[in-house]
Subunit: 345 residues, 4 copies
């Protein structure tokens, strides 16, 4: 079977495809035939050596995949061959407190990831794929889908009656928009162009604010809530947008910190935080129980993940270039056909 | 101004309209011009002397009303004249633990209720009416709307990904259907006729089970969830239906006890409860903070309460008869026009 | 290495010790040298064929153990040799919704249990043992300790200001007493003798009610709360006690169903449930995230599990007899010395 | 009856005692004979014109009081004459979302406060005083006690197994220490002197860190948790301490923002927030339901509020001076004897 590894941080040329030995599942393990891999901004950041946790040269990249079980080891009770599964971002964070091993468990950053034709993992490290989705769609859930759900959940879950603010058209933001609408919330989205605004409205956004034409968009968003503010901000922007997000949030609301898109850090004033009478919550994707909820929500609501473009496995590099261009709306996905029904794995 | 009082338990003839003295708001009080009153099953039960807490002869009946502020007393900061408001079912249960006075605070059972042209209450005993509703629609919220919301809320709020079971076509059940759909849940409803099934589907029910043709409807509902069971049952039926509801509920799910429609009580086996690995929660309407949430949810989602029929104030008796007939779908409402703009209160 | 298996349901004679082959950990697995096993009522019920889920003849019994890691397989990141661990009751219920495989995952009922000198499991099926406890004490946590914690936790965790009712002197009840006190709650305990009452008071019970001398002990408990009722009942008794527990619970409180000590089932009236305005929650032990919380709570509060008596591995039968006698207070434990430091495993 | 008003912001000389007209309770109102008033830092800040919301010249200051009901108006069902009560900080925030009127409801900042011999309020604006406390002790609860409780509560309540960090020896911090211990948490406190450290240990602090001798006390606190960090920080310091608090907090933990003791604001870096994988929650005292919980907790646990010093009503100025000195430990209280039993009100 074949897999990609990145050999240095110099350029996308470092992403190289090679033949690797196949593996046989031991007790409790499953061999997954990878059918689709979805890219996240962190995958680019790692190749570019911009990720906060320095990634290791030589790893197989990518954290998010969908596939089907090719073989199971002894004592596997959760899955059988041909079952469809998706990967978990934190393969050993099942629920409750994040384990201390989480930082060294990251696929594609600390250990080999999923940009490979097949992969051997513990049966606890995958969950069943939602019915009704293609592999390409399902591959988008482990990081972007779960991150959005974690942001909308937590101790005070977003529901009907709430207003949610999403920022831009990246993978997490579009999932947040879809999931927030599915939960009955009103959604206000920010964007930079009339064209993207149109797309966001088509996806369900009740209001769209152009952050280019309205620099004080935090106040604009607040005005759209009759001065009350929004209940939740899915803050993917980072230092560049937090100040406005804090202006937009209602008393008792919550700004969920996800992003690190910008790297300059002007800092936040203490009184800007204090006077919100709101919360800020920093998250990191979410746990397996959360991903299982996402699967149920997707099945129950019929949400279809928004895919920007699908690239063949052989041209994975083009997928990274697409993501890097910043012009995508939704997720960039790599299709892997080696394990199609009929193929010998 | 005029008000109804019920003089004995003999028949609906005991409901008599009479002239009463008007009142002037003291400090912190508001005078509400009643515009609509919604009936609940308890209002009939009280007149028929079938209510668990024996009601007092001579009271003004009814707990649920919408109206507009005619005058405010000194130091009222929450409302001004012409503001539109709805009543609270438990006028002194604001949030947190139910106060010990709740049992003696009930409008229409322990103290004078709202079937009157105007009423004087503390500013804390009303909340603002949702924008976009008529008085008739808004009057349905204080008991039926809030009860349904309380049932769908609590420590584990119903959300997208959940399945909710509602029973029949009464006021609480239809609100539960509408609110559960607004929260993104899948809804299974039970009913007794194809005609009502059609109506429930039109209101958003994903599945309808006929409990007449399918006596073991608990199993039928479970089958509709691929054997997993429903996350929430809004149990308005009482002893007659609880056994089936317990069969329908998922592990970790919740059956919310609301009803007392039937009076014979075959009892529930301990192991029927135990083996559910689920919860049963008995509720009584809800608190003011919950009603304020209902107002926001109604405004935000555009839900319109389902009204069966509206009767004029002068013919309130017909409204009681309609409710007693059991053929209604949605709420039975009495309109009160005495305080229309232009009328002297 | 040696292990017990039960060969039929006829008598405790069926519990037979035999030599078995040792195993070698595969990837992700750990070999645990068992140092102590704690008995639960279910272990007796299974041998006596009184367990709701019929157990399989020939299994190694028991679900709860403490031990130390003898060897780890490849890619085990959570543990190293000599680490001390305890078992999990539901080895694949990590958090979130209980998996559908839970019913077939039970140690000692559906698969081989822990009454063995060593056992091979996934690294995900054990958690680290609390510092400061002996193996005998730690072995009591996976079922009894976690069940008590689950009962006191949930969506509305027991805290200072709450009152908790515990029933009798069994393992779960004593843990519930200790943990509730550690959480700052007031505890009322029931018992059948002055001697046990003394012991319960020494363990921290604020009040003890004798259910023999006071048949309507539900009312007695309520009286001890000035009529308000208790916030939580840890209901281990089952059908025989539920009626009284429902009288003791406060509005908004919760009765947690754990027990099946009695088998006759007089049933509960619907209105007995309804009028409580409280909740009933049926639980089954708890998930791994909960057990990790228990470990932290034990370490942080210094709680020492109460052990009735410790029996040597060679005389496991005496431990079962002790439990069956019903005269124990706290947990009955079997010590296993085969894997002591210095012993070859 | 007599009351204090502050006539300008120039100095404490502006605090002047004068005779005022007595009032008679209207419907739903109670007349409270004030027996004790507790000072908060905000009371000084207001007199010094350093409060964020500019206070109004001429008001009766102070928000926190205990007293007894002297008379009740018609239709008061919650209280009777001679009942003992405490004030609520936000008199119209009962539960749920903070009302929009909260900002203009503040006693002693926006409306007349409690530094008076008697005061007329709605029955909804007071709660019953805990049994077992003196008036002086009870007067400390409405702001400092409730603020500490709100900080330890919220969506993820502090419990046994958690570690709480408190800062210094002010009123809120000492309540937080006492309440966190009552909830079973481990408490780490910071202080500036060995003498205060001794006092904090006597009050239950498990560990005390001297922030003078250890400038990087955030790391020191984290080290005391074996690197895991604390679950909750009761952050009363403000901009001067937040940076260290963020270093001390565990992943998944929460820093609760209360303070504004310092006014220079160096700001917080975005990545300092992001990398915590924790939450920051800004609060403002709490609602009436929370204060009722505090009353139950105080009664149930036997906590006695820590009073620094009690001053007579006639010498209220000395109390303000004591608070301003910053040398107090616990609360500064003013006693008011005019309404003692036997006195004519």
């Amino acid at each position: 079977m074949r897999a990609y590894r990145f050999r240095d941080y110099a350029s996308l040329d470092s992403l190289q495809l090679g033949e690797e030995a196949s593996a046989v599942p031991q007790r409790g393990e499953v061999l997954v035939g990878v059918r689709a891999v979805a890219l996240n901004y962190r995958d680019i950041a790692m190749l570019r050596n911009r990720y906060p946790h320095r990634s290791k040269i030589g790893l197989i990249p990518c954290s998010d995949a969908a596939g089907e079980i090719l073989a199971v080891g002894p004592d596997v009770t959760a899955f059988a061959a041909r079952d469809r599964v998706i990967s978990t971002f934190h393969p050993r964070w099942f629920g409750g407190e994040m384990p201390s091993t989480a930082a060294t468990d990251g696929y594609g950053s600390e250990r080999d990831g999923w940009l490979t034709e097949s992969k051997l993992v513990s049966q606890e490290a995958v969950v069943r794929m939602p019915r009704g989705l293609s592999f390409e769609e399902a591959a988008t859930l482990p990081c972007a889908g779960l991150t959005a759900w974690t942001a909308l959940s937590g101790a005070r879950p977003v529901r009907a009656g709430h207003t949610v603010l999403t920022l831009g058209s990246g993978g997490v933001s579009i999932f947040a928009l879809q999931l927030a609408k599915a939960c009955g919330a009103r959604v206000i989205a920010t964007t930079s162009s009339a064209e993207k605004a149109e797309r966001l409205r088509a996806l369900g956004a009740d209001e769209v604010v152009n952050y280019r034409s309205c620099r004080e968009w935090g106040e604009e968003v607040r005005a759209l809530t009759a001065g009350r503010g929004v209940d939740r901000v899915v803050e993917v922007g980072g230092p560049a947008t937090l100040k406005q997000s804090l202006r937009a949030v209602a008393r008792g609301g919550e700004v969920v910190l996800i992003g690190f898109l910008s790297s300059d850090d002007p800092g936040i004033g203490y009184f800007e935080l204090k006077q919100t009478v709101a919360s800020i919550r920093s998250i990191t994707v979410g746990d397996r129980a959360g991903l299982q909820e996402v699967v149920r929500v997707i099945e129950s609501t019929g949400i279809r993940p928004i895919i920007d473009q699908v690239f063949p496995f052989e041209n994975a590099r083009a997928a990274f270039e697409r993501l890097e261009s910043g012009t995508h709306i939704g997720k960039v996905v790599i299709r892997c056909d080696a394990t199609q029904p009929g193929h010998a794995p």
